[in-house]
Symmetry: C2
């Protein structure tokens, strides 16, 4: 599809992977899932290249992350990196990318994809992307909904609406992260899907939706567009972008737009939300340990050892007689926590912050 | 007591404190018990100074440990360090020290003390030392036996013999580390004491015992003595010491000597045999954690955090939701192990050795 473009959203910070993730080293730059040392964002780009060549892959990231992000994506053109001077949530991010891409190709079809998710079945994933792009041609915005496999309370859900034909459904409504009781209903209803956070649209259509539902954002994008026409885009972005309304594309556009379509799919998807899911997605030995070859594990089962230090220390990591722990090493921290308590990482981070105030 | 000398035995290597203890950084050089960062050997010297001034405290250590040992005992005279060119167990060590001290003071009374034990009640300990020195005047060798407080299988035992008066008993026999059933008998018999590994004797008497029971050792000591008289001791030690019989003072002398006396005492003694005992002897917070102030402990109980790194890394150590672990950091290793499995440290060390072969 020669008009197909991808926008990888890579602005997130995320505290759930402390001490690995930090404001200057967010989750997408880390190898938190799957084999080897591939950062999540590198995997996110690699797996779409068979359907979308590098020159049509764009990345939106924060100003202070741009260099580090480019470093792990050396095959993308420098001009495809959009560097946000301030975080304004996803609607300004997507609006800016849509405008920039439409300027290059007025007929652009855009896939907006997260930078920090895991995909188990990559061919199945690409097939679903192409189905969603097709769906987007006949509606305002399309998304992908994942068939739930468990009553997950960490994800948002979509409720399926009318049948639009060709296996495509309208989205009846978006549902925030539910409690367990509701998640159990959703997981078995057959009418609910996990919200994958992926969006598919024609660039011009998205800009029209923004003009209709988020006029202040549209005005800001117009100013940036005029500056771009005058060859003065960089300075105007610094002026305008921080003044844009901070709002998510879900609340700002998706929930208001008519004819939002959802393509249902299953391709081993995870948002890699915690050390627990990092362990689940990792290659493990016969004892269920996900650890570097160099780690010494004696009578230890089900542990995650994540050594994300950038400096070679020669330090041996030895676990003896412990089960189901996450042991994470970075240059500036060591964390030991039961995998099952991964969500409590934030408590340690809060305490570290309190002390360094 | 102006003829009182102390010999601190500091030759041990020990693998039970891996990764902290290594051949070049043995247990006695590490702060493994009590408050602050005082190495065990520094505490061993400090607590006897009220009864034995620094100029009469001698230290026997391995050649390769001499510099490191002197560095933590800056107040002792350089000439009081005896540096073994090869490990020959405790009988040659004690024989050499007895000969060297007798040369300085023919009437010397010698206390041989371990370098790597913990003492809870230091005044009580000093009182027991003085009682044992007194006892040694009227017998061949005296020792201190600790009143057992539990059926410990990690210690050797003494069985009390005839009453020698003044609260002193003869040693009926020495008993190797028992199994639990025997330890339970010993702990409640009233007739058994823990063998503290401390020896008290007149220097000349000990040399006489060695001549009688270990004639080969006596001959070697004679050669070293003649060389010392000629001012040529250093070279002769290198020649002779490695040829001396490798035998413990317990087997070589104590078990053969007549009139071995034991002074019974209780002063909160531990041989600091494992990370478990290091935790038991450490200052702990209200949640039972023994950890540096800098460590972040969230909902964690009963843990030992031992940070023995020599290089400042600024690395925060965070434990969240874990109980009763030992987490040990050194420059070259990280160990995570349940305290209760401290004895399995050796398994990790064996694996590390296997890999680096």
């Amino acid at each position: 599809m020669s008009h197909l473009y991808a926008v990888i959203m890579a602005g997130g910070a995320g505290t759930r992977f402390w001490p690995a993730s930090r404001s200057d080293r967010p989750k997408q730059l880390l190898p938190l899932a799957g084999k080897g040392n591939e950062p999540l964002i590198a995997a996110s780009v690699r797996r779409i290249l068979p359907i979308c060549p590098a020159e049509r892959v764009w990345v939106v990231t924060a100003r202070h992350l741009t260099d580090a992000t480019r470093a792990v994506l050396p095959d993308l053109p420098a001009e495809n990196f959009l560097s946000e001077p301030a975080p304004r949530n996803t609607a300004p991010c997507i609006g800016w990318a849509a405008a920039a891409i439409r300027r290059r190709d007025p007929e652009a079809l855009v896939m907006v994809l997260p930078s920090d998710h895991f995909i188990g079945d990559e061919p199945g994933f690409r097939a679903a992307l192409l189905r969603a792009v097709e769906a987007s041609k006949g509606c305002s915005v399309a998304t992908i909904g994942i068939t739930p496999t468990r009553p997950e309370t960490g994800y948002g859900y979509l409720e399926k609406g009318e049948d639009l034909g060709a296996g495509i459904r309208a989205v009846h409504r978006f549902i925030e992260k539910p409690d367990l009781a509701r998640a159990e209903v959703f997981a078995s209803s057959g009418q609910h899907l996990w919200n994958s956070g992926m969006f598919f649209f024609r660039a011009g259509e998205m800009l029209g939706l923004i003009r209709k539902h988020l006029p202040d954002l549209a005005k800001g994008l117009d100013r940036m567009e005029r500056a771009a026409a005058l060859g003065d885009e960089a300075a105007e972005i610094d002026n305008v972008f921080p003044t844009l309304p901070s709002i998510s594309i879900d609340h700002g556009v998706m929930e208001k737009a008519e004819r939002v379509a959802v393509v249902e799919a299953s391709f081993g998807w995870s948002d890699v939300g915690s050390w627990q899911s990092s362990w689940e997605l990792a290659d493990k030995d016969a004892q269920g340990n996900a650890a570097p070859q160099s780690a010494v594990l004696v009578d230890a089962r089900g542990n995650l050892v994540s050594d994300l230090r950038t400096k070679a220390t020669g330090q041996v990591i030895a676990l003896v007689g412990v089960d189901d722990l996450a042991v994470v090493l970075t240059d500036d921290a060591l964390l030991v926590i039961p995998r099952s308590r991964s969500q409590d990482v934030k408590k340690a981070l809060d305490e570290v912050k309190r002390r360094t105030k």
